[in-house]
């Protein structure tokens, strides 16, 4: 009978040994904490610390399992509880650390988003005034899309992915900036600027000596001004050629010529409202053309071109090299000038030009 009781007891104990062991509350809390740390991306933001945390967490879990597989009356959770409390403390510190890192990262990304937005907006502005800006706009529009995507990721809290996007953006914005600088290269050359200033100075001098009206065109300022002596009579906004910031060298280069010219014909009616024909190419233009041709810088069979006019059609027009004004301004100008009026076209004479100031020294 005693033997039967012993075997029965053994059987009960065996069955009870297969039951799921009870879990101390700290273990459950640690499990929730670990998942929360995962959710917050601790594995990425503080990898080393998270790995260390995982080691002590796994150790604690092993301790728990060791206790759970013991016979009920041999179980002692004191050490297990202490191990899990250690896990919870370490986890809390890690959580705080991750929050700090994420906060710093978040602030940095927010600042970068603002910086890029400012840069792209600033670069887009000159591309509207520079007819050469079309390929630059292509790049900048792509940059804008990437910036918007980075902002979406940032708003969703996907800081790492947002950062990746911003990293790719740096190179694109740099490309756009380089292209703008290349287009403005001549405008930062002091010798070139000095030549332009001299052309303007000589024109004003002629105006004063002969007491005549002269026309000065500053290409980057998009301005045509009428002077009599040193007195500015009036100014008009203008449109230029597709490659208007370049100096015209040959036919169909769509650049607007630079130099000293004269009005050689007044056309009350032309394809583009009223027009004033200037004497491009002058001797200097011919010399530059021949020089470029001998260096092979001009495509074969291409001539120097001509028929450069100041005409109506609108200040927002993009021309083949001519200078265009709004029709009402053309009416005024047409009245104030005559055949023989000097027309001097330069890149810039304005040190305070917004575009040049923005990119100067970069």
């Amino acid at each position: 009978m005693r033997k039967l009781a012993a075997v029965f007891l053994l059987l009960i104990l065996s069955i009870s040994g297969c039951k799921a062991p009870p879990v101390p509350p700290e273990a459950k809390k640690a499990e929730q904490q670990e998942q929360s740390l995962w959710r917050e991306g601790a594995y990425a933001w503080a990898k080393e610390d998270f790995d260390s945390y995982r080691v002590i967490y796994e150790e604690a879990k092993k301790e728990l399992l060791k206790e759970n597989v013991k016979f009920v009356w041999f179980r002692n959770y004191e050490q297990v509880t202490s191990a899990f409390n250690n896990v919870l403390r370490t986890g809390e510190e890690l959580q705080e650390h991750v929050h700090q890192i994420k906060e710093i990262k978040s602030v940095s990304i927010a600042a970068q988003l603002k910086d890029f937005e400012r840069s792209i907006t600033a670069f887009l502005k000159p591309t509207l005034f520079m007819n050469e800006g079309k390929p630059i706009r292509l790049i900048l529009t792509k940059a804008e899309l990437i910036l918007r995507e980075a902002r979406l990721l940032y708003q969703r809290g996907a800081l790492e992915k947002a950062e990746e996007k911003l990293e790719s953006l740096s190179a694109i914005v740099k490309d756009a900036e380089d292209m703008i600088l290349l287009a403005l290269d001549r405008y930062f050359d002091p010798a070139q600027v000095a030549r332009w200033r001299k052309l303007v100075k000589d024109t004003i001098f002629e105006s004063r000596n002969k007491n005549i009206v002269v026309v000065i065109v500053s290409k980057i300022d998009r301005k045509l001004s009428l002077y009599k002596g040193r007195k500015l009579l009036s100014s008009y906004e203008i449109g230029l050629g597709h490659n208007g910031l370049d100096d015209k060298l040959y036919a169909a280069d769509q650049a607007t010529p630079e130099g000293r010219y004269r009005i050689i014909d007044k056309l009350p009616s032309s394809n583009y409202y009223k027009a004033l024909l200037i004497d491009y190419p002058n001797e200097e233009d011919k010399r530059k053309f021949d020089q470029a041709k001998s260096k092979g810088a001009i495509p074969p069979g291409v001539n120097i071109g001509g028929l450069i006019e100041i005409h109506g059609g609108g200040k927002h027009s993009i021309t083949y090299g001519c200078i265009s004004l709004d029709n009402k301004d053309m009416d005024t100008l047409f009245r104030l000038v005559e055949v023989g009026t000097p027309v001097t076209i330069v890149g810039t004479i304005n040190d305070m030009n917004e575009i040049l100031l923005k990119f100067k020294g970069q």
């Binding site: 879990k61 390929p135 292509l138 927002h316």
Partner: protein, 197 residues
Amino acid sequence: MKNISRFLVLFTMVSLVFSGCSKKPVQEMNDAEAAISAIVKAGAEIYAQEELIKLNNDLAAAKNQLDIQDKKLIKKYGATREMLAKIAADASALKLTVVTRKEEAKNNALSAQIEAKAALDEAKALLERAPIGKGARADLEAFKADLKALESSLAEVQQSIDSEDYLGAQDRARTIQEKASGISSQIQQAMQKVKSK
């Protein structure tokens, strides 16, 4: 003799109870691991990240338990077996969720792509109708460049869809749509200006 028979019967019963718990759950472990691999392959890392983390944690716990039992003289794998069976079942159930979420993301990306294309087409049509007058207007030329950039980005949306990056495709398509709509408004404003002159 009677006592010996009783003892043998009881010994057999106890042995059966122990043997029921002592067979190592190799197949169950393989099944659980295969089930998790299958959901990872299905895209759980993107579409069910949290659930995947939980399953991996459960698997790690089951492995720990297995290690402990392996070192024991009297091995009891019952609890481990139950854990592994639950992991495999949870993973199978999650696969359906992953597939559903992925399909949903794909549909959202495709809708966003259609909307982006519509916005782009509208902007292009507006630009074509814009009264440019003489030659070309600088701002309209600028919009042309912008739209060209959007067009090439729209092709990238398709690439993202083809590579199953549906969330990325959706973001890109939405940004294209926003930008194209912005350009449409600007073209309309430009046209309005021309009309009012």
